[in-house]
């Protein structure tokens, strides 16, 4: 029986036949692909938008935030008398700056608070002691106390003059810094003539004007005096408790946050609570899960709809092309050749849909990023396998119709 070599179908011929099958009904092929296009497109867009948005968070989560640790004074609240606010207290030690500076990883650190004066009258003239807010007055200005370490940790930009330092702190000097807004209100533009500002009649020499700060921006709206001076003159902070602000070296923030309370108050660390910057990774993960979960479910539904669409169309095509199947069988096609052909058609349809869907998804992500002035971030693991998902959907959808096509008897098919 040497004459009976088995009939065969090469991969190239198989692909050519499948492609011809798809091209002969282009309109229907496009409509069939739609579900897969939507599903894969949604999949890519959701993952792309999520990674773009989280990338954005990563960008806004700057070095500044990542090197800032604050330590709050829990004070009375933790000692159990329940009236923590309103009672004057100071749980930070006088040598807070030095204690913080000893920690490895701290660049600058110190304590600051809002001085507990009700409606302080801040004025460039000594004779204005009452009547807040009359013309030249600075009735709306706030008075802050800050140790030199806290001052440095704020990373102020000086318009003119200089910062007060440990010398002023030690001696409780009546010196102050003015924020740019406060200085404008008080009409002070230079410090070389040693101007003075009066707080309820007490004179403070202005040593510098601050045009900008990195941390504690509220100080720009007021005047800042050494913490020792404030403690001596106005007493411990009452309405808003004192807080330590620490500028750490990059990467040291979380370590410092763990150590700060003990370093400052080895006797009663529970009085203080250090707040580290949020962990950018945790932040990112949280955003990812919040955003994408629902949309991924929607994308999956789209894919299922796409699969049903492909299955349906392939089944219709099989029924429609019964005559062709019979003919091919008569021409020597084995059942597996028929299965392979229809399976290849549905898989190609799915892959093509996946490819188009991926392009659409990428376009959506890029367009959104452009519109929002974001940087588009597309993870390769989300984009590259996307067309493959389409192909898988097409393959799975084509299984039943293709197997059914293979079972068609040429005898019946050719009679039609």
């Amino acid at each position: 029986m040497s004459g009976i070599r088995a009939t065969r179908l090469t991969l190239r011929d198989l692909l050519a036949e499948a492609l011809a099958g798809l091209v002969q009904r282009p309109g229907r092929s496009v409509l069939t692909m739609l579900g897969t296009v939507l599903g894969v497109g949604a999949f890519v867009a959701v993952l792309g938008l999520t990674s773009t948005a989280t990338g954005q968070i990563g960008k806004s989560f700057s070095l500044l935030q990542d090197t800032t640790v604050t330590v709050d004074d829990l004070g009375g609240a933790s000692t159990g008398d329940g009236t923590g606010t309103g009672r004057a207290r100071m749980d930070f030690p006088p040598d807070t700056d030095a204690r913080l500076a000893r920690l490895n990883g701290v660049a600058d650190g110190g304590v600051w608070w809002t001085v507990p004066l009700r409606n302080p009258v801040i004025s460039p003239r000594a004779d204005v002691t009452v009547e807040p807010g009359n013309g030249s007055g600075g009735g709306d200005l706030a008075l802050f106390a800050a140790s030199p370490g806290a001052l440095r940790a704020m990373q102020p930009t000086l318009a003119t003059g200089r910062l007060y330092n440990d010398f002023h702190q030690r001696r409780g000097e009546h010196v102050c810094l003015l924020g740019s807004s406060a200085a404008r209100l008080l009409g002070i533009t230079r410090v070389d003539n040693r101007p003075a500002v009066f707080v309820n009649g007490t004179a403070y020499t202005v040593v510098g004007l601050v045009s900008d700060v990195q941390r504690l921006p509220q100080t720009l709206l007021g005047m800042v005096i050494p913490s020792s001076t404030a403690l001596n003159t106005y007493g411990a902070p009452a309405d808003s408790p004192a807080q330590a602000v620490i500028r750490t070296r990059p990467g040291a923030a979380r370590l410092i946050a763990r150590q700060a309370a003990t370093a400052l108050r080895p006797d009663r660390p529970e009085l203080l609570k250090a707040v580290p910057p949020p962990d950018p990774h945790a932040l990112r993960d949280q955003v990812s899960t919040d955003l994408s979960g629902l949309f991924l479910v929607l994308a999956a539904i789209c894919l299922v709809v796409g699969a049903v669409g492909i299955a349906n169309t392939t089944l219709v095509a099989v029924l429609e092309r019964t005559g062709e199947i019979g003919l091919r069988r008569a021409l020597g096609a084995r059942p597996r050749h028929i299965t392979a052909q229809f399976l290849t058609e549905s898989t190609a349809l799915g892959a093509l849909g996946g490819l188009i869907g991926t392009s659409v998804g990428v376009a959506v992500v890029v367009a959104t990023a452009l519109a929002r002035h974001w940087t588009a971030v597309l993870e390769p693991y989300a984009v590259l396998p996307a067309p493959l998902i389409g192909a898988l959907v097409g393959f799975a959808a084509g299984l039943y119709p293709a197997l059914r096509a293979a079972r068609i008897e040429p005898l019946d098919a050719l009679r039609r």
């Binding site: 004459g3 009939t7 065969r8 008569a330 021409l331 050719l414």
Partner: protein, 231 residues
């Protein structure tokens, strides 16, 4: 002397049921190379069953069938399929052309499963189309062709593998008489060139043109004496 193309010995086909359906009673039939045989009979007589057996689309329930010397009963499905693809050419009443493929592609389709080289396929297809007088319509779509042209494309497709047996099932059933005449002329011409042709028909006019005739009635085959009818 070479084997006959077709050698049926006691070949029968029954379908299960109660009582058994005898689609084809035991048949002895020999078709030699170069024969031109017409199988005539009314519908339901067993013509199609015979066609399916001859074309390896179905297996006989009893008896032996040798196609070009190969005992078909001993073949597995894939070998039967291969034998069908290589040795039998089919021409159908409904043409069964793929509507979105050109004449050339339709003919080349018959080479798809039996050879792997693509270029010789097209050449062989063009040659077969020229042979049936369609050398000028190689790239026409079936939808733009007349019925006669379509059937000639189908005949070219059946010829392209140089089959041992050309099986025509009501080849003129969908054609007007003038076109039918032309198609019969073509089959005759091919037979003159040595192609073994079997035509299955209920049309006596078509059958009359064959050199041998068998009549099938209620599953029973009887051969008319062709010589006497020609006289």
């Amino acid at each position: 002397m070479t084997d006959p193309v077709v050698q049926l010995a006691g070949c029968a086909k029954t379908y299960p049921g109660s009582p058994l359906v005898h689609a084809l009673r035991p048949v002895d039939l020999t078709i030699r190379t170069g024969d031109y045989l017409a199988v005539v009979g009314p519908s339901g007589s067993g013509k199609s069953t015979l066609l399916n057996l001859l074309g390896l689309l179905d297996r006989p329930s009893a008896g032996t069938y040798r196609l070009s010397g190969v005992d078909v009963a001993g073949l597995r499905e894939r070998e039967r399929t291969a034998l069908r693809g290589r040795r039998v050419g089919f021409v159908f009443q409904a043409f069964h052309l793929l509507p979105y493929r050109t004449a050339l592609e339709n003919v080349a389709l018959a080479r798809l499963y039996v050879t792997t080289a693509a270029r010789p396929r097209a050449e062989a297809a063009a040659e077969a189309l020229r042979r049936v007088g369609l050398g000028h319509r190689l790239h026409a779509l079936p939808t733009t062709m007349s019925g006669g042209e379509r059937q000639r494309v189908a005949i070219a497709r059946a010829l392209v593998n140089s089959p041992d047996l050309l099986l025509c099932d009501e080849p003129t059933g969908n054609l007007d008489s003038a076109t039918a005449h032309a198609v019969m002329d073509l089959l005759e011409q091919l037979n003159d060139c040595g192609v073994t042709v079997v035509v299955i028909t209920h049309d006596p006019a078509v059958a009359a043109r064959a050199r041998r005739r068998v009549t099938i009635l209620d599953g029973r085959l009887s051969e008319s004496d062709s010589e006497s009818e020609l006289a």
